[in-house]
Amino acid sequence: MDAATPILSVENVSKEFDVSAPWLNRVLEGKPKMFVRAVDEVSFSVPRGSCFSIVGESGCGKSTVARLVTGLYSCSAGDIHFGEGQGGRPVRVQMIFQDPHSSLNPRWRVGNIIAEPIREMKLRTGEAQIRARVEELLATVGLAADDADKFPHEFSGGQRQRVSIARALASEPELLVCDEPTSALDVSVQAQILNLMRRLQDELGLTYLFISHNLSVVRHMSDTIAVMYLGRIVEMAPAETLFNAPQHPYSRLLLGTIPDIHAPKRERELQSGEPPSPLNPPAGCTFNPRCPLANDRCRRDLPNLFAVGETSVRCHAVEEGRAQEMPSAG
């Protein structure tokens, strides 16, 4: 096992969805075929044992990336490579979903839900061993052994998310893709789940690909953060760097508008506009209609990712050194 090779590398991955009108409408009304580019040439790599996070607003493509990595969607272009897993077999990937109410089968007992991947992948032989493994997993996520005989509806939201995590751990994965794992939970329960996930990372050496819209959760969990806007990564940096010195105007907008209980910014009314439709993105940099620094070049040419220190950023203004004019957020 080579620690230097990343456990996951995503290279120029794009995903297009066909959102055309039905065939007959296209023929009769002369409507063209339409595609949404949900993910556009996204590249990143995740080192073993780290937590890589993707943040962005709804519709920016972050969940699509999670589904591409887990193979729930196929890529329209680009490659996804996985590193070598334990004992030379491929890396095992599992996913934790946002809503623990809809991601667990309500008719199955929790013990069966957790045992299914073990049976399916033949990780244990004999019912006694499987049962022992299920109880071990329940203990790992902080549930009692006799919870295996209950149904999902007998648990609270936080406990159900623990069951989801136990199920994901059942196949002994090395990479966990977590799509908004705490968004459906209350704050006090969210803290329990985040603490559990950090502990599991330390104990089991897990790698996380963490998807969230909540910047404070992302800051708590991540080593590296990528900010997505309309299908593209606009900034990628180590967590501390991103929060202390955001480069891209969109990252600054996000950090500037997030509600902060310790330093509320209640005096100003923001007029920062709204994301454009992904069906018809603006020419040039897709952020230009909302950007205070936009000029003719931004409205014409798509900026490329380039490096500033440890940060990769996709912005003409930063590249040309015009970004200093904008007051820093926070």
């Binding site: 329990q192 950090r198 959760v217 708590h220 996000l254 509600p259 209980i261």
Partner: protein, 342 residues
């Protein structure tokens, strides 16, 4: 007008009474749900007061009773829910004893509502202009043309560009943030004294959320409207509200000015809640967590509902229910501030 109207307020001039009365006064409200398996008390002896031009944040976890409180004030509790005890006064007028017919007139004129999902709050088959004009004409004597002018003025006020053209568009032609602005314009249509905003920004993205909370703040100042802001998000409260009431398992456990509650929480639950929010400013190895979860309505322990999760619980907490008493610069319902837990 009912006999209950504004009578306890001093002053013969109704306008004077209007400005003197709190936008909302809820006293000892109890809401019960009668089910086959017994009566569940969703709201247990809750009192709160909102002055004109004040935003009261009501915060709590799901199931704490914050939305039910808002619905009870609006008179929108659904069977089997009912107000079992207590009084609700809006703008000096008692409303919990009104008939459905009388309540319909009060709703909209005296109190407006903003709900979480702006798509379901608007009728998809009418243009937003038609919906605004209908609401305005229902509550005022304006002619159709005057109502249209007022609708345009309202849309401009809530920050919708080119309101003259937007007026004839349908809800699906608006983005989420713009739709919520339309819902706010609807709530404002009759210049109500009180607006109940139930999770108004939860369905929106952060950058849009900040725009909407700032808009609510500005409207509250301009119109001297009292706003009850119901949310689970302490960040939204910090950005928007003047005072906050923290609810837990159907009761208000702490209330006070927002800064005081955030920086100097008095109730153990509020302390735990504040510490559990991941910080934007520093990364810690382990978040403070409150173990366990809020008890279900049918499994509430005797005494303080928080006793099973509380690090400071004593014998008295398992025996008696604490009530709000002065604590710090606000009030908390905890025996730590009321004679000890022994």
């Amino acid at each position: 007008m009912t006999p209950a109207a504004a009578s306890q307020r001093t002053g013969t001039d109704t306008m004077a009474a209007r400005s003197a009365a709190p936008a909302l006064e809820v006293s000892n409200l109890t809401v019960e749900f009668r089910t086959r398996r017994g009566t569940l008390t969703a709201i247990d002896d809750v009192s709160m007061r909102i002055a004109p031009g004040e935003i009261l944040g009501v915060v709590g976890e799901s199931g704490a009773g914050k939305s039910i409180t808002g619905l009870a004030v609006l008179g929108l509790l659904e069977v089997p829910g009912r107000i079992a005890a207590g009084e609700i006064h809006v703008n000096g007028r008692r409303i919990d004893t009104l008939t459905e017919e009388q309540l319909t007139k009060v709703r909209g004129r005296e109190m407006g509502a903003i709900f979480q999902d702006p798509l379901t709050a608007l009728n998809p088959i009418f243009s937003i202009g038609a919906q605004l004009i209908e609401t305005i004409r229902l509550h005022t004597d304006l002619s159709k043309e005057e109502a249209r002018q007022r609708a345009i003025k309202l849309l401009r006020e809530v920050g919708i560009p080119a309101p003259e053209e937007r007026l004839d568009q349908y809800p699906h032609q608006f983005s989420g943030g713009m739709r919520q602005r339309v819902v706010i314009a609807l709530a404002l249509a009759a210049e109500p004294a009180l607006i109940i905003a139930d999770e108004p920004t939860t369905a929106l993205d952060v950058s849009i959320q900040a725009q909407i909370t700032a808009l609510l703040r500005r409207l509250c100042d301009d119109h001297q409207t009292g706003i009850m802001l119901v949310t689970h998000d302490m960040g939204v409260i910090a950005e928007t509200a003047d005072r906050v009431a923290v609810m837990y398992s159907g009761r208000v456990v702490e209330t006070g000015r927002v800064e005081d509650v955030i920086h100097d929480a008095q109730h153990p639950y509020t302390k735990g809640l504040m510490a559990a929010i991941p910080s934007l400013h520093e990364r810690v190895d382990k978040l403070a967590q409150i173990d366990g979860s809020m008890p279900r309505l049918n499994a509430r322990p005797p005494g303080c509902a928080f006793n099973a999760r509380c690090p400071a619980a004593g014998p008295r907490c398992h025996r008696d229910k604490p009530v709000l008493v002065p604590a710090g610069r606000g009030e908390a319902a905890c025996f730590l501030h009321d004679g000890g837990t022994e």
